[in-house]
C-alpha cells in the first residue's frame, strides 16, 4: 500500500516539476519566473524526501535541508537584485 501511494506521489511531484519548468520557459514577467523557480526547489525537496522514504534511508534529509536553504537564498537574492539592482549593499 505504501509503495503504490509513494508511486502516486512521485508521479504527482514529477508532473508538478514539469509544469513549473513550462512556466519558467513561458512566463510573461520575471516575477513569475522567480516564483516558478522557487516552486521547483520546493518540489525537488519533496521528491528527495520521498526517495528517502521509498529506500528506507536517512541520508537524503541533509541533501533536502541544503536544497531548502539554497532555494531560499537564491530566491531572495534574485528578488533583491530586481528590487535594488544590487544584492549586498
Amino acid at each position: 500500500m505504501i509503495a503504490s501511494a509513494a508511486t502516486f506521489a512521485f508521479a504527482c511531484f514529477a508532473l508538478a516539476l514539469l509544469m513549473n519548468l513550462w512556466k519558467v520557459v513561458t512566463a510573461p514577467d520575471v516575477a513569475d519566473r522567480i516564483l516558478a523557480l522557487d516552486t521547483m526547489f520546493i518540489n525537488a525537496i519533496a521528491l528527495m524526501v520521498l526517495y528517502g522514504l521509498a529506500l528506507g534511508s536517512e541520508i537524503f534529509f541533509e541533501a533536502a535541508m541544503i536544497i531548502a536553504m539554497l532555494g531560499f537564498v537564491s530566491t531572495v537574492a534574485y528578488a533583491r537584485f530586481i528590487l535594488r539592482g544590487n544584492i549586498i549593499e
Binding site: 509544469m19 535541508m65 531560499f72
Partner: protein
C-alpha cells in the same frame, strides 16, 4: 495496528501528492499574477509538509528509528515561504504597478517599494535626531 499505520502513511502520501500537484497546476492555470502567487506558496508548502510527516511516521513505525530532521525542514519551509512570497509581491509592485495604481498608503506618503534615492535620504534624515553641539 500495523495496517492502521500503513494506511495513515499512504493517506498522507496521497494527500501530499494531490496538494503538490494542485499548487503547480494553479501556477499555470490562474490568470492574474498575484493570484498565481497563492497557489505555490500555500498548496505546495502543505504538500511538502505532508511528505515530511509521512516520512517521519514511516521511519518511526517501520524502520525502528525516530527521526527529527523532517521537523527541521518543515520548520524552515514554513518560516521561509511567507518571506519569499513577500519578496515576489514586492517585485510585482516594483515592475507592474505605479504610484497612482496602488491604494493609499496613508498620510501624503507613498509605498516604500516605489522609493527613489531622494525619498530614502529623506526617510533617513527624518529618523535621525538632529546633532547637538
Amino acid at each position: 495496528m500495523e495496517t492502521l499505520l500503513e494506511f495513515l502513511v499512504a493517506a498522507l502520501l496521497v494527500m501530499a501528492g494531490i496538494f503538490g500537484f494542485v499548487g503547480s497546476y494553479g501556477l499555470i492555470k490562474l490568470n492574474d499574477q498575484m493570484s498565481r502567487l497563492h497557489a505555490p506558496t500555500k498548496a505546495t508548502t502543505l504538500g511538502v509538509g505532508g511528505v515530511l510527516l509521512a516520512s517521519m511516521l514511516h521511519a518511526a513505525a517501520f524502520e525502528k528509528y525516530v527521526s527529527y530532521h523532517e521537523l527541521m525542514i518543515t520548520l524552515f519551509l514554513f518560516l521561509t515561504a511567507p518571506v519569499t512570497a513577500n519578496f515576489i509581491a514586492k517585485v510585482h509592485i516594483h515592475r507592474q504597478e505605479t504610484r497612482a495604481s496602488m491604494p493609499e498608503a496613508g498620510g501624503d506618503d507613498h509605498w516604500a517599494t516605489h522609493d527613489t534615492p531622494e525619498d530614502e535620504e529623506r526617510r533617513q534624515t527624518a529618523h535621525t535626531p538632529p546633532a547637538e553641539d
